[in-house]
Subunit: 431 residues, 2 copies
């Protein structure tokens, strides 16, 4: 018999089958034994009449072990799972689990992270990564219909990609290399190379020693850069449409029962994401009486407050904050012609957390050089980057999108660590 | 007028339009000026009657500059490009290119790599990255229909993922971390976590000081791991179907003219990939008179020879070499019950180059521990990895697939450097 899967057993009624699975439950009655065996989100009941070889094997079995079964699929309307059961012919233990697991439902966060592979076995975590997969697929469909090219930019580089702060250093054949903090320079290089619209999904590295619920030393960044724009509004349009498409796709593909089980609160996608300048946002927040800790940016508390105000006023879970002053932005953000102290930039907040920073970039060599000097950075060190703009470069802009931050707020988690396959922080490099 | 794209101009005949583009050609006649302007693979002719402001601007224009045009789209069957031209209303230079580019058609490899963004502007390179994008999309479609989950495993780790050789070291807050050489341990962890089938597309790092046409210090690896297998044959089946699906999709989506332009020779997908044991493969090669430099593996020359033999005999551009001896394989490959000196492993060769290493993994804790000891590795150092197999773990296997090696042989390039967005090698960390 060819090996089948539990998901396909419904098509096998009356047939002899062979399949693998996890042992989820064992019930030993006087004359008969029952097992619940699972693959992913599919489970089936097995039944064994005692007095055969299988009885002994089942007696030695532990929960979480894996087995290979041959047997016959029989109709049984009394069984909740699939309305059938499998009469065991033979059973082989393919891996025997220890009797005690090192974590249980009461384990604290650090213990769960130490044993992340066991922590991931929960049904909620199983679906979390299914949803992440669906989400990325939706994003890719969106990019595809818009003619975007996928790039894989190098993570090893000779010089810092941005400020030089929070940089990990690598021993590179006796020399020094850095780990990329973002694909920023390389996705802009793709614009100078004429690739027009690019995206990248990949790891970025930040030597940030902080322990907040939003930070990690390595995370998956989703990066987009598009050419031939007229302003940062075009970049916001692109991202807003992208997010709405992804949410709509996700909600269409997830079964209703699952949305309930996961407690997903679905963001409305029929509302335009409001766009508020930083100046206006800060004024709205100050009216609530809150004194900000930052003059040229929003502090985390302000992000929360402005998100709540916008949600109340418009129903939107998202809000673009635009036109940050040059002091709060890197040298390569383009400035407003009519207000040279402010940049054509934006952040996107989702339920109180910043999930994106974006901007139109300065693509004009002379202006860019001046902005480097103004920020007291080194023209020398940035030479290769500046060269991208010397031989013609389309007007362009883009954004980075934090996958785990988005998932965290979509699924109602409190910490990015919970939605990361394996979290990395200042004190965590393993497993 | 809303900004449009050159690709959409055909729908705009008779209309006033506004669009961006690269300046590809400038022709200055007595009374009239012509420009060819391009976005990606789409180009259009612009025409300007002299004596207006646009004339001056065009006179100051250099090739490779970018411009923003407003004008009227008029039918012109004499124009090859799209059968239309745009009568220039106004023109604005959005970036002015230097008159001389630092590379030309005769530049050597290193100079082209120094100026990779200019090198990438060729039509061939434009399509190379379009094809890479298509290829990855096809692979993802395949994984999706088979219920695979996407993972993003950490690249920073406390200990070596495999042998400890070729490992880059990172300064991690005063401590040492390593860069992942492969997601091997983590994709196996996903199996122990019950994710059943996973894939990852991401960077891997190898501190390999060699300069061959197949090696780099950082490359994009495509990794797959699947549970509930009966042997490595199931893994080969999965990969063979995956590659055939990807090639078929690619060939359906690429226009015929482009296949000719790129000189693609299409591998046949209606032939089963032959599966030859290493022992048989070495015998076939030795019959040609070639003396191998390796006893338990194929050397690069042998890979070429066996590929040629198989191609001649069967017409297949692919061949699986199977059942490597344990000396040639890492400790975690499963061994044949009937031949404990040989592993349930395989390589996949494509046109003479190894593009995959795969195997069924040893998932049984006690056996795995013995194999660690036999290879004289440290149980202590591998503790966290070994723990994955203590609490139940499905029988599983998987493979890594080298994206750039596959593209190199599919498109007839001689070197992985040419098909990498930005190559990294012992002497190359920039741009």
């Amino acid at each position: 018999v060819k090996t089948t899967t539990i998901a396909l057993l419904l098509q096998e009624k009356g047939n002899n089958v062979r399949f693998h699975g996890w042992v989820d439950k064992i019930r030993n009655l006087k004359y008969v034994q029952f097992l619940i065996v699972r693959q992913g989100d599919h489970a089936v009941q097995l039944v064994n009449e005692k007095g055969n070889k299988a009885e002994e094997i089942i007696n030695s079995l532990t929960l979480h072990s894996t087995i290979l079964i041959t047997g016959k699929v029989v109709d049984n309307p009394n069984v909740k799972l699939l309305g059938l059961e499998v009469q065991i012919g033979s059973i082989e233990i393919t891996s025997l689990a220890e009797r005690e697991l090192p974590i249980n439902d009461n384990s604290n966060h650090e213990t769960r992270m130490d044993w992340r592979f066991l922590d991931l076995r929960s049904r909620k975590n199983y679906w979390l990564f299914k949803i992440q997969t669906l989400l990325e697929r939706a994003l890719r469909n969106y990019w595809n219909t818009r003619g975007c090219v996928e790039i894989h930019s190098p993570k090893l580089m000779a010089t810092a990609s941005e400020s030089g702060a929070e940089l990990f250093q690598v021993d590179y054949f006796g020399d020094k290399a850095c780990l990329a903090q973002s694909p920023q320079f390389y996705k802009q290089m793709a614009m100078a190379a004429g690739l027009d619209r690019v995206f990248e999904v990949g790891p970025v590295f930040r030597a940030n020693p902080s322990f907040t619920s939003r930070h990690d030393t390595e995370f998956t960044s989703i990066d987009v850069e598009i050419s031939w724009i007229d302003s940062h509004a075009d970049v916001m349009d692109f991202e807003e449409e992208m997010i709405k498409y992804a949410i709509n796709t996700l909600m269409q593909e997830l079964p209703e029962s699952l949305k309930g089980f996961l407690g997903i609160s679905i963001p409305k996608t029929n509302i335009s994401f409001p766009r508020v300048t930083l100046i206006d946002a800060k004024e709205l927040v100050s009216k609530t009486g809150y004194k900000s800790q930052k003059t040229d940016d929003l502090d985390p508390r302000e992000e929360k407050v402005i998100s709540d105000i916008i949600k109340k006023e418009t129903g939107s879970d998202f809000v673009f904050i635009t036109d940050y002053p040059i002091t709060a932005r890197p040298f390569y953000h383009m400035r407003h012609e009519s207000m040279l102290t402010h940049t054509k930039s934006f952040d996107l907040l989702f339920r109180g957390v910043e999930i994106t920073t974006g901007a139109q970039r300065e693509h004009r060599y002379e202006k860019l050089k001046n902005q480097v000097l103004e920020k007291e950075l080194s023209i020398e060190e940035l030479k290769q980057y500046l060269d991208f703009f010397k031989y013609g470069c389309p007007p362009h802009g883009g954004f980075g999108f934090g996958l785990t931050r988005f998932l965290m707020k979509l699924l109602g988690y409190k910490n990015v660590r919970e939605v990361t396959f394996l979290y990395r922080g200042p004190n965590r490099l393993s497993p």
